[in-house]
Every structure is written in structure tokens, then in C-alpha cells.
């Protein structure tokens, strides 16, 4: 592939070195496991975590005479992903053999796509920020290609002093390798790219994006150069399996390369490994083993062809993607771009929001989810899927504020009770006597009591009308926060003879 520079060097992304500023160039190859029941070329299950070699057919074990037959759903998933990346869909693609030797690759080659991938150029819009002014910057990152390939098996090296254990359950599971253009210029951009890509895959339902189980892993290509100069020699950091590690790997690798060049050295193109424990990258393969994959078209497989009608049908059934959802939340529900971005970041959060917002004030729903729900989830280390407060319950809390049953302040307490103990918000309010006091008589009495007990303050308030706030506070305190603040305020002002 020819490298095209799509970006103008931006001073705020440069990193300082001893000899001046440097620009980091990043390209990513993301391996995303295709969501499917069975493998790419065999009828064995793709379930994670089963007994060793139980999800293996004779095809996956590369027994002699076995022939691959492609899973049409994996093809559909790759096309859906391509459409989600606004990419060129190739109605004809070819499978090749990528030859290398490793114990977890029983065929001795991986069936992959080399010259003619199923998906060509596309793009992802990433959002970086917020900066000090609270603004986000949208950046377009090019997609070079997406191709289908087989995953390898899994080796374990820590079970035995002299032997490695090989489990072929993952062998033959379909992967999409999604290759970006070298369009990223900072660790933050690389992290934003993987986050956005994962979000798109999850919206599409084409990959579960679970990095812990290895469903999504990234090879990170990093090089450095003087701003706007020629691309430098890159190093590839293999199989980084968390978004945080991707950021750390980029930063470490950039510093390492800058130090070598500034010391008068040169960067050798090589494959490196990220060690999360030490937060550093280190060389993985010696030059002697430099890979020579000897690609050639797989004679067991005809070219993969489908017609435009197949693509159109998939396109017609594509779900709403994060960018479109964000635009709709802003346009139709009046949310800020910032709030909308947070809500669409995960499909499950967006779904939760839409359920709460249905028939309610969208902005209010957004505020409660972003400030209270996500805050509480974050604090307790839970994901949205594990939320103890259901959309119906949160909706119930909002309804009670809206119809004046409880004040916004009491609502926070109510939310906490629902979070801890569950229950129907309306019933909890009823049984715990949390109802807002709107009975003017009761409020009036409380106001009178406070005024009667504080003659000093009453004397001062004529000169200093802002003191009315103090009276409101005292009344709220006296009523356990249940008085309607608006009503208290009006009464206090009326009784003290303060004009608005």
C-alpha cells in the first residue's frame, strides 16, 4: 500500500525531543472475532471457554483430505461491517494461504485474503477531547481494507516444564482484520479509534468487542518523524488487548524511537511485544526468523462472489449507527453534542436512554443517566448491563419530579434507595413519607416558625434581601427537604416583605 499523508502537523499533538518536536504516526490492524455460531470453514462451535479441543472438527485440525466450506453468515457479517465503515464492498474476493509454521496452526497456513479482500477503503470519524475549552475535535481516520481470515489455536506455555499445551478450539474461528491508514497522530487518537471501531462493531452485532476474551485485539504500528517530514521506519507492536495498553504502548514506543534517533541510531523494522506489567515494548522476533508468508490463492476455495442484491438486503437491515444516533439525539431531543456522545458511546447506554426518554423530557433523562446513573455505575465498577436501577425505575423517579411529588433533591435520595434496595419509586416515596409538602398551610407554619425564632436575621434582611436565601434554607431543613422549594421561596419573600 502506498502511504498517503492525510494530516497537517498539529503543534498540540507533537511531542518534544532533545532536537525539537516530533510527530507520531500510528496505523492499526485490528483483529475482530466475527460473531457467528460456527467457524469460518467448519461446522464446529465458536463458544468461548469450552473443554480443550471440544469445539474442533477434522477440518480445524487439518486432517488430510478435509475441505473448507465457507459460512455464509461470516460473509454477511464482514459485509455489514464494511457497510458500517462506509467502505467499498468487493463483490468478488479471493482467499489465499498465508504460510507459516507454529504448533497452534495445524494446517501450516492460515486461510486469509491478501490481494483481493472482501472490503476495501472506508472511514471512521473519531472524536478527540474535550480540550481545555470543553470542545471535541472530529477527525476522519481512513480504513485501508477489511478481510476475512481464520484464527489460530491457543498455546499455553506455563502448564509444564518442557512442553506447551495446544488447544484448537479457536482454530478456524472467523476473524475480520480491519486495517487503518496511518492516519493517527497521538496515543489518544489511537485509543479513540479503537473505542469507536469497537462501538460500531457492537452496534452492528458483528463482533462482541470483548477484549478480555481476545475477541478484539490490535497490532499497533508506530513510527516517528520530524513534523511533516518523510514517514519513518515503523515497528509493529503485536496483540495489544486493552485500549489503555494501546495508549501506553504508543507512548512508550514513540519515546523509545525518538531516543534512538536522537542518539544517532536508526530504527529497525521489527515486531515488538507490549509488556503491561513493565509498561514497555520489547523485541519479539529475531531478524533470522523474518516472516516470508509465501501467499498464494487457496486451491481449495473458489473466489468468493455475491451480487449487489445480497449487499443491498444487508444494507436495508443495518441498525442505526452511533454517529447517526448522536445526530438524532441532538436534533430531535435537544441534547448537547457532549451529552449525546456519551450516551451513544455504548449501544447498551443508548438503548437505556431511549427507554427512559420515551414519553419524557430527553434532556432530563440524559442528565440523570450521565450524572447519576453512569456516575454510580462507574463508582461501583459496574457496566450498564449490571445496573441495579432499570430504565423503568429511573423513568419513575423522573416522573415523580416532573409531577411535583418530590423535589430534585429528594429525588437524589430516592435514586440512592432504589440503587441499594430496589423497589417501585412511587411506592418507596409513599412508604417512606418522602413526598414533597405542597400544602401551603404546613409550609406557612414552618416559615412562620423560622421567622419567629430568628428576629436578628429578620432585622437584617430588609437591608440585605439576599438573606432571604438563608430563610429558605432553614425552612427546607425544618421540613426535611420535603417542602416545595418554589413555594417556600414565595412565602418567605411575601412574609418578609421582599419584592422580586
Amino acid at each position: 500500500m502506498t502511504l498517503v499523508d492525510t494530516r497537517t502537523p498539529d503543534p498540540k499533538r507533537l511531542v518534544p525531543g532533545a532536537t525539537g518536536d516530533w510527530e507520531i504516526i500510528i496505523g492499526l490492524e485490528v483483529h475482530a472475532q466475527v460473531t457467528s455460531n460456527s467457524k469460518l470453514f467448519s461446522g464446529a462451535s465458536t463458544t468461548f471457554g469450552n473443554q480443550a479441543n471440544s469445539n474442533v472438527s477434522l477440518v480445524d485440525a487439518a486432517m488430510p483430505g478435509m475441505l473448507p466450506v465457507i459460512n455464509e453468515e461470516c460473509v454477511a457479517q464482514a459485509v455489514r461491517t464494511g457497510l458500517g465503515l462506509k467502505a467499498q464492498i468487493n463483490n468478488r474476493s479471493v482467499f489465499d494461504r498465508k504460510n507459516y509454521f507454529y504448533p497452534d496452526l495445524p494446517q501450516g497456513y492460515q486461510i486469509s485474503q491478501f490481494k483481493d479482500p472482501i472490503v476495501g477503503e472506508g472511514e471512521i470519524i473519531i472524536s478527540v477531547g474535550p480540550d481545555r475549552q470543553g470542545n471535541f475535535e472530529d477527525i476522519e481516520i481512513g480504513i485501508e481494507r477489511l478481510h476475512l481470515e481464520q484464527d489460530a489455536g491457543k498455546s499455553m506455555h506455563d502448564q509444564h516444564p518442557s512442553m506447551s499445551y495446544v488447544d484448537l478450539n479457536r482454530s478456524g474461528v472467523a476473524l475480520m482484520e480491519i486495517v487503518s491508514k496511518p492516519d493517527m497522530r497521538s496515543a489518544d487518537e489511537a485509543k479513540a479509534y479503537v473505542t469507536k471501531l469497537r462501538s460500531i462493531l457492537r452496534y452492528l452485532g458483528t463482533c462482541d468487542g470483548n477484549m478480555d476474551e481476545g475477541s478484539l485485539r490490535a497490532d499497533v504500528n508506530v513510527s516517528v518523524r520530524k513534523p511533516g517530514g518523510e514517514f519513518g521506519t515503523r515497528c509493529e507492536i503485536k496483540n495489544v488487548n486493552s485500549i489503555r495498553f494501546i495508549g501506553q504502548a504508543v507512548d512508550y514506543e514513540a519515546r523509545r524511537q525518538i531516543a534512538i534517533i536522537e542518539d544517532g541510531g536508526t530504527i529497525e523494522q521489527e515486531t515488538r511485544l507490549f509488556d503491561p506489567g513493565k509498561g514497555e515494548t520489547r523485541s519479539m522476533r529475531s531478524k533470522e526468523d523474518a516472516h516470508d508468508y509465501r501467499y498464494f490463492p487457496d486451491p481449495d476455495l473458489l473466489p468468493l462472489e455475491f451480487d449487489q442484491a445480497f449487499v443491498d438486503a444487508l444494507k436495508a437491515n443495518l441498525p442505526e449507527l452511533p454517529d447517526d444516533k448522536k445526530a438524532r439525539f441532538v436534533a430531535e431531543m435537544g441534547l448537547s453534542v457532549y451529552d449525546a456522545s456519551i450516551l451513544v458511546s455504548e449501544k447498551a447506554i443508548a438503548d437505556y436512554f431511549e427507554e427512559v426518554a420515551a414519553g419524557r423530557d430527553g434532556k432530563m433523562a440524559a442528565n440523570w443517566i450521565i450524572n447519576d446513573l453512569l456516575g454510580a455505575l462507574n463508582k461501583s465498577g459496574k457496566g450498564i448491563e449490571e445496573t441495579p436501577v432499570s430504565p423503568a425505575q429511573l423513568g419513575g423517579v423522573i416522573d415523580l419530579i416532573k409531577d411535583g411529588t418530590i423535589s430534585g433533591k429528594i429525588a437524589k435520595d430516592l435514586f440512592e434507595i432504589i440503587w441499594e434496595e430496589g423497589g417501585d419509586p412511587a411506592e418507596v416515596v409513599e412508604s417512606r413519607g418522602m413526598k414533597q409538602v405542597t400544602d401551603t398551610g404546613a409550609i406557612e407554619k414552618a416559615v412562620d416558625d423560622v421567622i419567629g425564632a430568628n428576629p436578628d436575621q429578620v432585622a437584617k434582611v430588609q437591608a440585605k434581601p439576599a438573606l432571604a436565601g438563608w430563610f429558605v434554607g432553614q425552612v427546607m431543613k425544618a421540613t426535611g427537604g420535603k417542602a416545595n422549594p418554589k413555594a417556600v421561596q414565595n412565602l418567605v419573600k411575601a412574609k418578609l416583605g421582599i419584592e422580586d
Binding site: 455460531n37 461446522g43 471440544s54 466450506v69 459460512n71 506447551s164 499445551y165 462472489e305
Partner: protein, 95 residues
């Protein structure tokens, strides 16, 4: 196109086939005869002709996404020289 002795040894290494120096020297000759034979094909003018992918015009067969195989770990590892709990055991591949 032809291969030299070093290439023969490198290809053998990539395929993890043990080849003695003596065999490698013999194979260099044999491979070059084969390559020379195949080379004759390049004399044919194939300008503008699509590569043939199948003798009969047919599309690639596809399967539906159903689990139809697996659950036979004992069969899978039956021929392995060494196994434990249906894992294949191989000489350690990392230091």
C-alpha cells in the same frame, strides 16, 4: 526463475522439513528443472485474459451458520504423540 542452494535451505526451514546438505544440493538441481519446465508457460501471451479459477463455471458453495460438528476431542487428539486432558502436548515453543 531459478533457485540457489541457500534458497532451497531457507524454503526447507520455513516448511520445517529437515534437509541434509547432500539432499539440498540434489534438490537445487531438481527444483530448477521443474521451474524451467514451468517457465515455458510464460511464453504464452495471456494479455487481457481473466485467470481461470474453475474448470466448470460454478460459484463457491456456502454453508448456513449452524453448529454441526465438534464434541470429539478424543478423536481429534487420537494420533497425537503426547496429550493431557485432550490438549496436544508439543515441545515448549517459548523460552
Amino acid at each position: 526463475m531459478s533457485v540457489d542452494l541457500a534458497t532451497v535451505k531457507r524454503v526447507a526451514h520455513l516448511a520445517r522439513i529437515a534437509v541434509t546438505d547432500e539432499d539440498a544440493a540434489r534438490m537445487e538441481g531438481e527444483l530448477n528443472v521443474i521451474l524451467g519446465f514451468v517457465e515455458q508457460l510464460s511464453e504464452v501471451d495471456v494479455e487481457g485474459i481473466e485467470p481461470m479459477t474453475s474448470v466448470t463455471p460454478m460459484a463457491m458453495r456456502k454453508r448456513t451458520d449452524a453448529v454441526t460438528d465438534g464434541s470429539k476431542a478424543e478423536d481429534i487428539v487420537a494420533n497425537a504423540p503426547e496429550t493431557t486432558d485432550n490438549f496436544f502436548l508439543v515441545p515448549k515453543v517459548v523460552e
